[in-house]
Symmetry: C2
Subunit: 197 residues, 2 copies
C-alpha cells in the first residue's frame, strides 16, 4: 500500500503481515502479498524470516504477547489476592471475548495461527500460568489461600476456566447466561482455594 522508503525491518514486515492477514484471512495470505504491501520483492521478506511458517509464528507470538502484557499489570497489582485473582480471570475472559466479538474474522484468523504454532501457544500458556501462580502464592503468603502447591493450583484454575478463554469455546461466549456461568465457576474455584479455618 505505502511503499515507504524506510529500511526494511522485521518489525515492519510483521506489521504488514498482520494487515495482510486481516485483509485476506489465514488461508489466502501469501508472502507475495506481504511483499507487495511493503513495496518490495518477496525475496526480501525471506531475508528476515527463513520461512512463511516462521513469519506466521512471529506474528502469533506478537499477538499473544500483547495479551500477556495487559494481564501482567493485574497480576502485579497491589490488592488483596482474592480480588486480584477474580480481576485477572475476568480480564482474561473480557479480553478474549472482546476480540472474538468485535472482529470475528480476525479472531478466527488468529485461532488458525495459534493452532499452527503449538510451541508458541505453549509458552504463552506457561506465561499466563506463572502470572496466576504469583497471585495464588501471594494468597498463600497472606494466609487467605490454602494451596500445597501454588503452581499446581494455578494450573488447575487456568484449566478449569478454559471454557472462558479457550478459542474453541468462542462461539458460546455471547450466549445469555455466560456471565452467570463464569461467575459460578470462579466462585467455586475461589471457594476451593480459600483457607478453611
Amino acid at each position: 500500500m505505502a511503499p515507504t522508503s524506510e529500511t526494511l525491518t522485521a518489525e515492519r514486515i510483521l506489521e504488514a503481515t498482520e494487515e495482510v492477514l486481516r485483509r485476506h484471512g489465514p488461508a489466502k495470505a501469501t508472502v507475495v502479498d506481504v511483499a507487495r504491501a511493503l513495496g518490495v520483492s518477496h525475496g526480501s521478506v525471506y531475508r528476515h524470516f527463513r520461512t512463511k511458517a516462521a513469519l506466521r509464528e512471529a506474528v502469533t507470538k506478537r499477538w499473544l504477547d500483547r495479551t500477556s502484557g495487559q494481564l501482567s499489570g493485574i497480576a502485579e497489582a497491589d490488592r488483596v489476592p482474592e480480588a486480584r485473582l477474580r480481576e485477572w480471570l475476568a480480564a482474561l475472559f473480557a479480553a478474549k471475548r472482546r476480540k472474538a466479538g468485535e472482529d470475528p474474522e480476525l479472531f478466527a484468523t488468529y485461532t488458525v495461527l495459534t493452532g499452527e504454532n503449538g510451541s508458541v501457544v505453549g509458552e504463552h500458556i506457561t506465561d499466563l500460568e506463572s502470572q496466576l501462580t504469583r497471585i495464588i502464592q501471594a494468597g498463600v503468603d497472606t494466609g487467605d489461600f490454602a494451596a500445597a502447591d501454588a503452581e499446581a493450583s494455578a494450573r488447575a484454575v487456568f484449566q478449569a476456566t478454559g471454557r472462558f478463554h479457550d478459542p474453541c469455546y468462542a462461539k458460546e461466549w455471547e450466549e445469555p447466561g455466560t456471565e452467570a456461568d463464569f461467575a459460578a465457576v470462579v466462585d467455586l474455584l475461589v471457594q476451593g482455594l480459600r483457607r478453611t479455618p
Copy 2:
C-alpha cells in the same frame, strides 16, 4: 455386507450407518453406502429417515445416549456424595479418553457428527448436568456440600472439567501429567463444594 432378509427397521439402518461411518469416515459416508450395506435401495432408507442429516443425528443421539446410560448408574449409586462425584467425573473422563485413544478415527468421526448436531449435544449435556445435579443435591442433603443452587453448581463443575471431557481437548488426553491435572482440578472443585464449618 450381509443382506439379511429381515424386515428393514430404523434400528438396523442405524447399525449399518455406524458401520459405514466407521469404514468410510464422516466425509465419505453416503446414504447409498448405507443402503448397499443393507442390500436395499437408497429410497428405502428415506422411508425411515427424512434426510441424511436426520439419519446422522439419530446415530449421534444413539452414541451419546450410550455414554449417558453408563454414567447414570454411578449417579444413582449408594455411596457418599463426594465419592460418587469423584467417581462420576473420573468415569466420564475415562470413557471419553478410552474412546479417543482406542479408535481415534472413529472418535474423530463422532466429533464431526456432534459438531453438526448442536441440539442433540445440548440435550446430552443437559442430561449429564442433571445427573451431576442429583449427586450434588444429595451432598447438600447430607450436609457434606454447601451449594446455594445445586443445579448452578453442577453446571459449574461440568464446565470446569471441560478440559477432561470435551472432544476439542482430545489430543491432549494422552500427554503425561494429564492424570495429575485432572486430580488437581477435581480436588479444587470438591474443596469448593464442601461445607465450611
